[in-house]
């Protein structure tokens, strides 16, 4: 195949046939790819395999009975996943399936449980290994008690103070207001009583 001065191609028969065959094969190959791409109907994929497993994320191991164990889940809901997600281990491992930290922590919980350790002991073991920040909430001791009780105590204290202030205001307002100017409108006390009853029947 040679290029002539007028930019046209001079092609002999062999080249032409080879080019044609190449083009045909590439079209067939691309057509085959396109027809394969959308997979089969649900449940009828070739040998039950996915067309492109990489699109479905990393492969996961099958769920075991221990994964659904309520006691294990309860422990994992008290442990903080350290991948940076701010979730507990159970929520992270059943939500962010790209995380490799929470599945590893889950395996560690299972291993400790299989050694016969109780939930408390497993949590203590994690605290020994990772520090107190591994717990989703700080334990109720020492300075952490301030964390739990400061808001409630302050609200109670503020409530007491508010009640005292309000009582003082009420006492201060009583003499200042003086007696209700009954009769100022030219009505009898009975009429006022009736009016008050009527007003109380109305929505406040």
């Amino acid at each position: 195949m040679t290029r002539r001065y007028d930019a046209t191609l001079q092609v002999d028969r062999r080249d032409f046939l080879m080019l044609g065959a190449g083009a045909f094969l590439s079209v067939v190959a691309s057509w085959r790819r396109r027809t394969q791409q959308p997979d089969s109907l649900p449940g009828t994929g070739p040998s039950g395999r996915l067309w492109d497993p990489a699109r479905a994320g990393r492969p996961l191991p099958p769920v075991t009975a221990a994964d659904n164990d309520a006691a294990i889940q309860a422990i994992e809901k008290q442990l903080h996943c350290t991948c940076g997600c701010n979730l507990d281990v159970y929520t992270c491992r059943t939500t962010d399936f790209t995380c490799t930290v929470s599945p590893a922590m889950h395996q560690r919980v299972l291993a400790l449980a299989q050694q016969g350790q109780s939930g408390r002991q497993i949590l203590d073991q994690f605290v020994r290994e990772h520090g107190i920040a591994i717990l989703m909430a700080p334990p109720k001791r020492g300075f952490n008690l301030a964390g739990y009780f400061t808001p409630s105590l302050l609200i109670v204290a503020a409530g007491v103070a508010l009640t005292l202030v309000l009582r003082r205001w009420v006492r201060a307002a009583a003499p200042a207001a003086g007696p209700t100017p009954v009769g100022a409108a030219g009505a009898t006390p009975e009429e006022f009583a009736r009016l008050r009853r009527e007003l109380e029947r109305l929505p406040s």
Partner: protein, 674 residues
């Protein structure tokens, strides 16, 4: 266009600084020329910032990947919907968005505020210009310029985080921003009133709509955020007490407190100091929320990339707090109450306790959010403060607040007599007690859920009683048919009855939150044709049958979708199709790790929530998590009712009598002279 954007930012900064100076000096010296100049400076700043936004959007839509921001948050195949929202998807763009919206709100406030408040407007312009100038300065001097160029031009951008490619994320951040930003207007009026020593109820009238608008935007923003977290993140919940979520809740709580306590000032001339403090505090909390989101000081999944911007916000927060509260302290002697409390059993007192609880909850949330830092300072150990902590501390407070939501409207202004209280409480208390009894007989034993639903019954009965009495009074007085009486009752006194509709939404939300106590879930590995079962709290058995997995391309992603048939007690009710999505750029290259897209079947009583975890060894055998979330639909419905109530309260108009009642101190006792 980036040159234009940069020029616009510099121009906005210059006129902003001038506007701040002219506004404060003009307000202080009562100079009309400076006042006019400050007003025009805010308009000019608004125009310049709108040009900057246009320039950035142009770069985004033109795929100008030489602009660092465009390359970082978009790609050629990103849908247009999300290309637009990339404006506020990143740190730099969101700062521009913030400054622009603030300048728009500032301009609107200057145009729409009635002339009788003209004395306050120069300072309002000054505050708006100052705050907006700060945001522009952060962009220009804090390495956060959205128009910064790269030394090379990538073929395609990195694309938008898949979790942000959800309609909820198109609307949720702007709504929250609008809420945060619009608080600046009431704050500006508060500072103006303090500087001008005009501390009567008049400035409150000027900010009433703005405070409601802020509160409404925050409410909608928070609800949209919950919805986004639920439908997108895949963990099956909607609130995780994340620091950034907490930061959005803080100003909402203080604004809610203000919306209640301001009624006491308007009707009784009390709580003037308190209301000013609440407005200043709300604004500072909105800046605090911005600081939390942008500093990286507390780890959060919502945070922007850690950067030096946090220091700017911390410094601004400290200076602004010091300046505001110093001014406040200087003006305290002028803030005495005009009238005094007459009885402990009065609506004023109940509003005070409602405020105590709202501020208490805000403090508790703030305390929990900052406790990891405090613990590190005191103990040298960082702790994690997650949902168990917040639920333990805040749920009882929330329930007490729900109780007060019902008690407040039942107590009369000024003083309530015993017969009045008996008559007011009889029906709601009976309704609450009856609800509790029914739940106990029905076998419910979760204490908090019991209390939430029973108190919900009490509050709902209070609201129904208020509407019924009002409609009956109109029916008797004007002979109107009951539906017409009800409609006119709402139309003539939108603030009061719109407020009751907000309370209805809050009741629905609390009951829906209680439903999550009965959440059930299971994990299962299923081959096509295999099933997993889950029993709902209502006694139904749901069967999930895995039919198979399909893979196909759509827009900018490659999808792996499982089809799961759902049966309730053996009867087919539909399909769930949870997905794994691999996002790709315009060249077909994967941009992020595969993300999870849950499938949700929403029903009135419960949601069925399916998540495709992944597959086993590349086969159609798949790992699923199925969850039954009771009453979740009602969270969204409650949010909509809250927003509807807020809109009714805000809607202009109402009867002249109602407007007069809201503006002055019209609560008088029998025989008392006006």
């Amino acid at each position: 266009m980036t040159v234009l954007g940069n020029l616009a930012l510099w121009l906005a900064l210059l006129v902003g600084v001038w506007g701040a100076l002219a506004g404060f000096v003009g307000g202080r010296q009562a100079r009309p020329d400076l006042a006019h100049s400050a007003r025009r400076a805010v308009f000019a700043m608004c125009g310049a910032l709108l040009v900057a936004v246009f320039a950035l959007e142009w770069a985004l839509f033109q795929h100008d990947f030489n602009v660092e921001y465009v390359a970082a948050y978009t790609s050629r195949n990103l849908p247009i919907f999300y290309t637009w929202s990339a404006l506020y998807a990143g740190q730099k763009g969101s700062l521009l968005f913030w400054a622009t919206v603030l300048s728009v709100f500032g301009s609107l406030a200057l145009v729409l505020t009635p002339r009788r408040h003209a004395e306050l407007l120069p300072t309002v312009a000054g505050v708006v210009a100052l705050v907006a100038s700060f945001f522009i300065s952060v962009m220009l001097f804090g390495h956060a310029n959205p128009f910064q160029r790269l030394p090379y031009t990538p073929l395609d951008g990195s694309g938008l985080n898949p979790q942000l490619q959800n309609p909820g994320m198109v609307f949720h951040p702007p709504m929250l921003y609008l809420g945060y930003i619009s608080i600046t207007i009431p704050f500006a009026f508060a500072i103006a009133a303090l500087l001008a020593k005009r501390l009567d109820a008049d400035w409150l009238v000027a900010i009433r709509k703005w405070t409601l608008l802020s509160w409404l935007f925050l409410s909608i923003g928070i609800c949209l955020g919950m919805w986004w977290a639920y439908v997108e993140l895949g963990w099956g919940g909607y609130w995780a007490w994340d620091p950034v979520e907490n930061a959005s809740l803080l100003p909402w709580l203080t604004m809610t407190a203000f919306l209640h306590s301001v009624m006491v000032q308007e009707k009784r001339g009390m709580l003037r100091k308190w209301n000013l403090a609440l407005i200043i505090g709300s604004w500072l909390l909105s800046i605090f929320g911005t600081f939390i989101t942008r500093s990286g000081v507390i780890s959060s999944v919502h945070s922007f990339t850690q950067s030096s911007v946090g220091y700017f916000f911390l410094a601004f927060l400290v200076v602004a707090a010091a300046a505001s509260f110093t001014l406040y302290a200087i003006r305290l002697p002028l803030l005495t109450a005009e009238t005094q409390l007459e009885s402990m059993v009065s609506r004023e007192a109940s509003f005070l306790f409602n405020n105590l609880l709202l501020i208490g909850i805000a403090f508790s949330v703030l305390w929990g959010t900052l406790f990891p830092i405090l613990s590190e300072l005191v103990q040298g150990t960082k702790v994690t403060v997650g949902p168990p902590f917040f639920n333990q501390v805040n749920v009882p407070l929330g329930l007490a607040l729900l109780a007060l939501t019902g008690i407040g409207p039942l107590i009369a202004w000024r003083r309530a007599s015993l017969p009045n209280l008996q008559r007011q409480f009889a029906v709601p208390a009976t309704a609450g007690g009856f609800t509790l009894l029914v739940l106990l007989v029905g076998g419910m034993r979760d204490l908090y859920a019991l209390l939430a639903i029973a108190l919900g019954g009490f509050v709902a009965a209070t609201i129904v009683q208020e509407f019924a009495r009002g409609a009956r009074a109109r029916h008797r007085q004007y002979g109107e048919a009951y539906p017409l009486a009800l409609a006119r009752l709402l139309g003539r006194n939108r603030r009061r009855y719109g407020g009751y509709i907000v309370h209805t939404g809050i009741v629905i939300l609390f009951v829906a939150f209680a439903g999550m106590a009965f959440k059930t879930e299971t994990e299962a590995t299923l081959r096509p044709g295999e099933s997993a079962s889950l029993r709902s709290p209502y006694g139904h058995t749901y069967t999930f049958t895995h039919l198979g997995i399909s893979q196909y391309d759509a827009l900018n992603r490659q999808i792996t979708a499982a089809t799961v048939e759902v049966r309730r007690n053996g009867k087919p009710i539909g399909f769930l199709t949870p997905e794994k999505r691999q996002h790709v750029d315009g060249l077909g290259r994967p941009t992020f790790q595969p993300s999870t897209e849950p499938a949700i079947m929403s029903m009135l009583r419960e949601d069925l929530y399916g998540v495709l975890g992944g597959t086993v060894d590349g086969t159609e055998q798949a790992v699923f998590r199925f969850t039954i979330n009771p009453l979740v639909w009602w969270v969204w419905y409650g949010g909509m009712v809250v927003a509807l109530g807020g809109l009714i309260v805000m809607w202009p108009g109402g009867s002249p009598a109602a407007r007069r009642a809201q503006a002055g101190y019209t609560v008088r006792l029998v025989g008392e002279k006006p």
